[in-house]
Amino acid sequence: MKKLLALLLAAMMVIGLAPLALAEDTVLTVVTWDVAANPYLQLTKEAFEASHPGVVIEYIDVSSQDYDAQKPTTMLAGGDTADVFDIKQLPDLQNWIAQDFVVSLDDYIAASGLDVSRYLGMDKCYVDAEGRAFGLPYRSDFWVLYYNKDLFDAAGVAYPASDMTWDEYAELARKMTSGTEGVDKVYGTHYHTWLSDVANWPVADGVYTLIDGNYEPLRYFYNLAQGLEDDGACMTYSDLKASGLHYRAAFEAGNVAMIPMGYWMVAQLITDIKAGTSNLTNFGIVPVPHLEGLPSGSSFGAPTGCAINKNSANKDLAYEFIAWRCGEEGAKVFASAGARPAYVSEAVADALSSVDGFPSDPASKAALLPVVVGLEWPVVANVNEFKTIVNEEHTAIMSRDITVDEGIANMSERVAEVPGK
């Protein structure tokens, strides 16, 4: 009996160990943000795992606020061994390079034969001062103008044109504004509280940058936004800031006719419309309005990419993953979820516009092809010093504590004192 029991116990131990012995899957951890809100993350994970048996992708999900608040940098500084770190803010990568947290990809790229020209220059955002690549872009968002087709239909107003100046846009926003607050109010447009949504537009010419030290070009856009606020054509900055209303929630409430926003919102809108959680059901996109004299399709944006942690135990596999993710295969998966990949090719463009839920009108398809994409912020080591100053004055201007003139004078005066400026 005792023997039988011992045998049984031994058998149980062996059976118990079996799953461990079989579980030889290599786990690749990827630090990223808002996994649930970005469906392409789940899709890329599934597609990569399907084409690479034995590899499991595991996301470490950080909230986007925490991501902006230096959480990944803190993880890297603490010696975290996660393999891949997604890059949300470009200056972060420069810090990571400076602190020797990430791996140079030059040798990997050369060995794998990845065609970086397909990134249309966006890969240059991931190099250090000597031109060595430390990251690759998988997404490249630029800003477009979203509009609610149902509101335009109801008002009997033609949809926003593909080629609009900012003045024409403001006129359209006023035309689309109607109703009473709390009853049937329709806002002609919506500005999120970010500097990039209100006043970043001068960079769309691809020449002007917010570190030039001259902030005069911003004046037109502050006056435009404040004029629209005063006319009730958009919610006020102060209310939005105090309530913390998310831009997507504002547009999905269904009473906002237009909103300039990054291309990333397409995927989120499609998901929410399919899930039935949005009052908005029918949207379209056109290129963002442009200044007089610039071509239609002038926009700005920033790529989203990823880098490999120096502490990763699986660097080769990590590169295999990011090269796949940032290459054509990954790009098609991204496009299928409505997100715009950084990798540009015919196949990818077709995949983008054939996504279920993507607006079917030709203008929305045409909006996928910007002609100029300026960088939101240039990639320089002390860019955050400029950001702090410009953002502080931005909050003071938009909450109407100081006039636009004072704010712009303050920006120029304070930036002039930045060392190395």
């Binding site: 810090n95 400076a98 800031k241 309530s243 010093e385 502080e392 909050t395 504590d401």
Partner: protein, 291 residues
């Protein structure tokens, strides 16, 4: 002896590793150029970091001047208001009246509630069309602005939440202080014909001075360290209207990645808190009564 040390060790080691060593380290960094680069790129900066933060010093223009002014204003209003409020609550709730225990818990609650949640709630309540402005409108005061988004009101919003949050905690200290006032003093005063006010001014307040001393020191230190409420409610804005010393340190160290400059400001903060506390201890003999 060894046994005594071994009991002290866990707390002492914790203090050493996560408080004392970082403080010393921060003191060293304040004299280094360290902009987030690899450790071998660090260079000695001497007094450069201090020169940089004191450059063009002005209470209306330079970051250090503005944050110093904001932090001082916040402290000067929050400390006395909190003390008055805490003492008032303690006096009212010290009686064995019905419901006293319940209300003690109620007023202590803000201190244990999540700071993020209470700041979000107050932000909403202080919105342009929020309940606070509606109540004020009933008595004829029309604000018409969100408190946290107006430079003249944002500081008061922060002070208000500071007082509201801390009063309950210091009320508990005052309640303990009140328990230790001997009943005979009041009896004797009653026999001498003193009224309620006279008892408060001549007995209660002087007997509570050790508590007040302790509370004021704790409060001043807490106020100079203010960060959380500001980060959630105003993010230092609008403009720089509520940018505090610690907000500035955070911005320099963790957004601009200038550890040297951030640590230099931290040293300034340390010296201010040290000086203020020393002055308070000096003044102790003059006004604090010990039995």
């Amino acid at each position: 002896m060894l046994i005594a040390y071994s009991f002290l060790a866990p707390n002492f080691l914790g203090f050493l590793l996560i408080t004392f060593v970082p403080v010393i380290f921060s003191f060293v960094i304040a004299f280094l150029n360290w902009n987030g680069g690899a450790v071998n790129k660090i260079t000695f900066a001497g007094w450069d970091n201090f020169a940089a933060i004191f450059k063009n010093f002005s209470f209306t223009k330079s970051d250090l001047g503005i944050t110093l002014r904001n932090t001082t204003v916040y402290t000067l209003f929050t400390v006395p208001l909190t003390i008055v409020m805490a003492l008032f609550l303690a006096m009212v709730l010290n009686r064995a009246a019905r419901g006293a225990k319940f209300f003690r818990a109620v007023f202590f609650f803000p201190y244990v509630a999540s700071i993020v949640a209470i700041c979000m709630c107050w932000s909403y309540m202080m919105m342009k069309t929020g309940p606070i402005n509606q109540l004020l409108a009933l008595v004829g005061i029309h604000v018409g602005k969100s408190w946290t988004q107006t430079k003249d009101l944002a500081m008061w919003a922060i002070v208000f939440v500071g007082v509201w949050r801390n009063a309950g905690y210091y009320m508990v200290m005052y309640l303990a202080g009140l328990q230790s006032v001997p009943g005979e003093l009041y009896e004797a005063a009653t026999v001498d014909g003193a009224n309620g006010w006279q008892k408060f001014w001549k007995i209660t307040l002087p007997m509570l001075t050790p508590t007040t001393f302790f509370v004021s020191i704790m409060m001043v230190i807490t106020c100079f360290k203010i960060y959380d409420v500001v980060a959630i409610m105003t993010d230092g804005g609008p403009g720089r209207a509520t940018k505090m010393l610690v907000t500035y340190i955070y911005d320099l160290s963790f957004f601009q990645i200038k550890y040297g400059l951030g640590s230099a400001v931290a040293m300034v903060l340390l010296i201010i808190v040290l000086l203020v506390t020393m002055v308070q201890f000096r003044a102790e003999k003059k006004w604090v009564n010990y039995m």
